[in-house]
Subunit: 217 residues, 2 copies
């Protein structure tokens, strides 16, 4: 019988806060890398890999029904000083607001995804992979919907794309595009939120994420 390894899941959890993409990190309370920042995660029990990821995510954030997708599996010998650990990374998207990003024991905080602190293990590489995946899929899926609240203005949607892709779009062209693709549907009512002219609210037509025949960008 071949040697036994341990299998873990690690989570790259993204949200938008203060107009920037942020990732959830945990301060480790136990060795190895005690006191350092790391991705949330843990060992897989008698459950599917995705269930393990959901369980860890709920333990850390209290959130359920979150968009979750398998990212990549990291398994180099030596990536964990405790021994051979193969880690299946998932990435999760959290809508703004109702986040209590603090768990019972360990400290949990949001950090700018672009420049995180020094991370334990190979977690910097995992985070990096999550970022690449997010950026890539933004263009040809409706993934972005999972980073906004259910109802949003077109300006918010445009800012999302501009923030993540570090690119600027023309307002009229952007609106024409998403509208003509039929991805999004106006909602009766307005947002009073601004101290300015109220904006029409929209929702994504499709509940689950879909891959587009022709890309948004």
């Amino acid at each position: 019988m071949p040697n036994a390894l341990r299998v873990a899941v690690d989570l790259v959890v993204f949200t938008i806060r203060d107009g920037a993409l942020q990732a959830l990190l945990i301060r480790r309370g136990v060795p190895p890398f005690e006191g350092e920042w790391a991705l949330p995660g843990g060992f897989v029990l008698d459950e599917t890999l995705e269930a393990a990821a959901r369980r860890e995510l709920e333990e850390e954030t209290g959130l359920q029904h979150v968009y979750l997708e398998q990212l990549y599996t990291f398994g180099d010998p030596g990536r964990d000083p405790r021994g051979r650990v193969v880690s299946v990374a998932y990435f999760a998207l959290i809508r703004p607001e109702p986040v209590r990003a603090s768990t019972d024991a360990a400290e949990a905080r949001w950090f700018p995804a672009a420049k995180p602190p020094r991370l334990a293990f190979d977690h910097a590489a995992i985070l990096e992979a999550g970022l690449r995946r997010l950026r890539a899929k933004l263009g040809y899926t409706t993934l972005g919907s999972q980073l906004l609240s259910e109802e949003f203005t077109l300006t918010q949607l445009q800012s999302l794309y501009q923030t993540l892709l570090e690119r600027r779009f023309d307002k009229r062209n952007f609106r024409r595009r998403v509208l003509s693709l039929g991805l999004v549907r106006p909602v009766r009512g307005k947002t009073a939120r601004g101290a300015h002219r109220p904006a029409q609210l929209y929702t994504f037509r499709s509940g689950p994420i879909q891959v587009l025949d022709d890309p948004i960008l």
Copy 2:
């Protein structure tokens, strides 16, 4: 300490034969699923996951320096009757010709990727995932280069795309496209192979696979 699982790699190995996409399958010589067809693969030793995949691939096909890419990780409890096995699937592309798809002991054969025989474990799902990945990446990377010999005619390249995507392209438009993208460079000399007018041979400009700014299709 958490429960120990075992980690395996499984390989979806594609090639083009007889003008069709084929996948390499192995007849299992031992239980479980003895006598049934399965993807090549095996348990991970003290090596990286990719190294494990390469090792298994060389054992089965004798091939080295093959294009290999991690595909997805399958880990449902119960997917392997022997106990909990998490399998990291890789997919590999083999150029035509120099394949001895037969290993020492077990029987190995190519099957049409679109309609394989009944497969052991959850290997049908893994194969399916490989197919989807291949088709998707064909459009926006130079992945296809790994399924052709180093030098090829534009007609061969077009057939490759048509076969995999089950779609027909206009010859002039196709050629204009790949040529104007500068992906491909003519080679001095012709192919005498046909009983017809000789065709110009081309090679891909870039050795390794690259992601394209704007897609081929």
